[in-house]
Amino acid sequence: MSKRVDHSEAASKFIKAKDHLEFHDKRLWDLRGKRDREVERLPEWEQLRTLASAIKEHTLTHLADYLEEFERNAIANGARVHWARDAAEHNQIVLGILQEAGASTLVKSKSMLTDECEMRPFLEARGIEVMETDLGERIQQLDGEPPSHIVVPAVHKLRGDVSRVFADKIGTDPKNSDVHYLAESQRRHTRPYFLRAGAGMTGANFAVAETGTLVVCTNEGNADLSVHLPTLHIASVGIEKVIPRIEHVGVFVRMLSRSALGSPITQLTSHFRKPRPGTAMHIVLVDNGRVERLGMADFWYSLKCIRCGACMNTCPVYRRSGGLSYGSTYSGPIGVIIDPAFDLRKYGSLPFASTLNGSCTSVCPVRINIHEQIYKWRQVIAERNQLPIVKQQAMAAAGKVLASPKLYRAATEATNLSLAKLPRVVLYNRLNAWGRQREVPGAPKRTFRQWYLENRKPKK
């Protein structure tokens, strides 16, 4: 059985590394600030959100039709289309394509889906050399860690950390942590792989049904190199990425990078239509739990996600706990509502890694009601007995007391008297999580109700 993720425990470790924590919080808050300034420039921003949401909602409620339309058009363009029910099928299909082409090196650009499918270890164990070419993903690959953020995968690392990883793994000067030096070193290190790779892989931000094309938004140019140098292009695409028409791309492209990084648009917005002469293009459409989620009345809205990461950047909990503390491919608010659908037991603590403050919902460019779904997941987790016993018992007891005026009065009126007399050591010990870093509120002499009875003359 999978090990349960203990978000609180992992977060406490993250918080102890002060420099990292401070940088992480500040860097992501800075992205949120840039996003706000971009949003300010577009008077129609809230309309765009509504429109984007409506397009996604329409597509998801006609998903089968649009997927088939996409498939037809992609095939007509000259691509080959594969369908993968789950991660295992996806990985097997990709391996089969590579083996058929005799490709032993794969250069790939960023794709959360391939992380979700744990494709890299699968291929590596079968003799395929896999090279992440996105800088952040590459840092994480070299360090043996998953990405901690869906847009900026190594955002939890300081440049000193990157310098250490690069010195260890690609032979850079350990004393040099200049960002330009590090970026250039990675670039030089990666180039030969592009030239000799038998295959290149991308994900897709959008799959346009009407044209059978894939749209990939990147900032580093690595996706285009991955597609244009090798003779084989494999694209892994989650089925929720399909949108009906080419004119819809504009709606999303206007929002994607503004939401993600606070830039008006990504450096590159590439449309991949068909293989160049003498090359092949394979598209793997992946379900891996998406259809099941589409059938969940309270949670299907999460499939609208365009993976911009704005919810993570704005989330005060994410910024102070780091993506790795969620123990999953998808972290932050969007992860909190996606992960339990994959494994309720393993990810049962994640919906509680939230104050339900709702900032995520307010920044979401496709209007996913993230914090409301977090609330709903909590109900599901409690119903399926996945809450810690302490919490279950505490809530059952609280529920009983608060349902009874008599028990409630006995508890509140007595608590105040006894609290006031308690020595400090009783309140401040390891068992009282409140008191570890906070003072406990002082106990008043009487409750409001007692004051009221003494000072007003209520009708009996």
């Binding site: 577009l42 409690a382 919490k391 349902a403 005026p405 906070r438 008043p444 409001f448 109700r449």
Partner: protein
């Protein structure tokens, strides 16, 4: 107008002065307000923890206490939000739905229902940082939120700006959650405390002598943080300031 006062459990037990200020303020404004004596809680603590079923008893009692009123006024944004959006552990009869529609957070009630624009008795000669609880800000929409592209507005600020002598400071992240979050404060203690420390530091750094809020639960958490940190900043509920508290 038939109005009742709902004093949330934690205000009743830990901050009776906030309940008193709320009652006195409503009385000053000429609202005859009942205080049903058998009230306890709206059910939020259990429901927010996922245990909606355990909230059913408290919710039923809430409805029983407040069924006969046009307005139920409470000095708590998060309780108002719970009743309005999430009081669903019990069958949704017409009576239940009516109660759910009748509940108003104090600032909303003053600003929207009574349309109070003057508090001649109020004077608060301090530098104030305003803290909007997240439920008030993003669910009740008592103020514009920095995430949303909309014209700026703030009902609590509109009310407080009528208080003589008050000065406002501008924290760098005014809309950032303070990290209370109900049981989050205990089960996610490390992150909760860090958020609280950051929140009070932000206000103190902006020069706040007081942090004022419509949500005492946020303030309880922030006060606990500030006291442990040794920060001189103090905390007061908006009802107290509007009712004429000088400090």
């Amino acid at each position: 107008m038939k109005a009742a006062l709902f004093i949330p459990c934690y205000v009743d037990a830990l901050f009776p002065e906030v309940g008193i200020a709320t009652l006195e303020l409503l009385e000053r404004l000429g609202v005859k307000v009942d205080y049903p004596l058998d009230q306890t809680c709206c059910g939020q603590p259990m429901a927010n923890s996922g245990c909606e079923k355990d909230a059913a008893g408290a919710e039923a009692l809430f409805v029983k206490n407040f069924a006969g009123y046009d307005y139920v006024v409470t000095p708590s944004g998060s309780c108002t939000h719970h009743v309005r959006e999430n009081l669903t552990a019990i069958p949704q009869t017409a009576r239940v739905l009516k109660v759910r529609r009748s509940v108003y957070e104090l600032v909303e009630f003053l600003h929207d229902v009574l349309a109070v624009r003057e508090f001649p008795w109020a004077e608060f000669r301090h530098a104030v940082g305003l803290h909007n609880g997240c439920a008030s800000l993003r669910a009740l929409r008592t103020a514009s939120a920095s995430e949303i592209r909309e014209p700026p507005f703030s009902k609590p600020m509109a009310l407080l700006s009528k208080v003589k002598g008050i000065r406002f400071v501008a924290p760098q992240r005014p809309d950032e959650c303070c990290g209370f979050g109900g049981t989050f404060s205990v089960f996610e203690e490390p992150v909760s405390a860090k958020m609280g420390y950051d929140k009070v530091s932000d206000h103190a750094g902006a020069g706040a002598e007081y942090i004022v809020s419509g949500d005492m639960s946020c303030l309880m958490h922030q006060k606990g943080c500030a006291e442990r940190m040794g920060l001189p900043v103090r905390f007061i509920h908006i009802a107290q300031v509007l009712n004429g508290a000088r400090k």
